[in-house]
Subunit: 126 residues, 2 copies
DNA sequence: GTCGTTGCAAAGCCTTTGCAGGGAA
DNA sequence: TTCCCTGCAAAGGCTTTGCAACGAC
């Protein structure tokens, strides 16, 4: 049976608090502000455990590499802000999936990454 | 000045011949069928050189990791066949970029990855 | 003969794993 | 007391780099 540890709890809280896809470095940094001794290996092990459990999902971002986000949010896409370098989850989907590929291709799924400036950066640069 | 070597020529020919995004392993394997002694370090060095030169472009595929493709093909997307595991370049773009994100987000660019079955695999499975 | 390139091996990243000690139940 | 979990360090992959020999020009 799985036990409740301060380390795993800290990692889970980081995701709940940030509510956006996070990279290993951020998870480790934010987690350490809560549990100073938090080890990198522990983070990796818990991320894997939370993935298997279905609590987290993994995404491979074109510019940011591997990121982790809360699972179970349904189909959505990602936005990467070139200013603050954060990745946001965008609800909804406007893509006509089958129309996106030429005749002959059977499209079953897709992923979209958007790049630009997020609302808070856009506001602060005016 | 840059010199013409059999190794670099072999790598370039692999891309011309396949005409699709390739991973390191494929480049190395296909290149070795032409230049037996082709070394991994040489491939990495030449890929970097061809990237800097603007002859190649790098893509970070969600499922396939880092891939390389001929540069200068204009805006396009990628299709990954779950049968043959190859990645194809799809011309055109049907996405209304700004409509894909909520109010406040300034969208400047995007990338789309499609997943499914390619025409040749779809035909052979019937 | 230059000096850009190559092959080999060593070194760097990032991630995973082995192990003994520690802590949740 | 059990045995899951953690920290540390070593080991694995993949990519880059140092170096001497090679070969394009």
């Amino acid at each position: 049976m799985q036990r409740k540890t301060t380390q795993r709890t800290a990692i889970e809280q980081v995701f709940d608090r940030e509510d956006r896809p996070l990279g290993i470095d951020e998870i480790l940094r934010l987690g350490r502000s809560q549990v100073e001794s938090l080890n990198q290996a522990t983070v990796y092990r818990n991320l894997k455990l939370l993935l298997d459990k279905g609590w987290l999902a993994q995404i491979n971002h074109p510019a940011m590499g591997v990121l982790y986000e809360r699972a179970g949010k349904g189909h959505h896409h990602h936005f990467h802000c070139r200013d603050c370098n954060r990745v946001f989850e965008l609800p909804g989907c406007t893509l006509n999936q089958q129309a996106a590929a030429p005749e002959g291709f059977v499209v079953e799924d897709h992923e979209i990454f958007l790049f630009g400036v997020c609302p808070s950066c856009a506001a602060s640069s005016e």
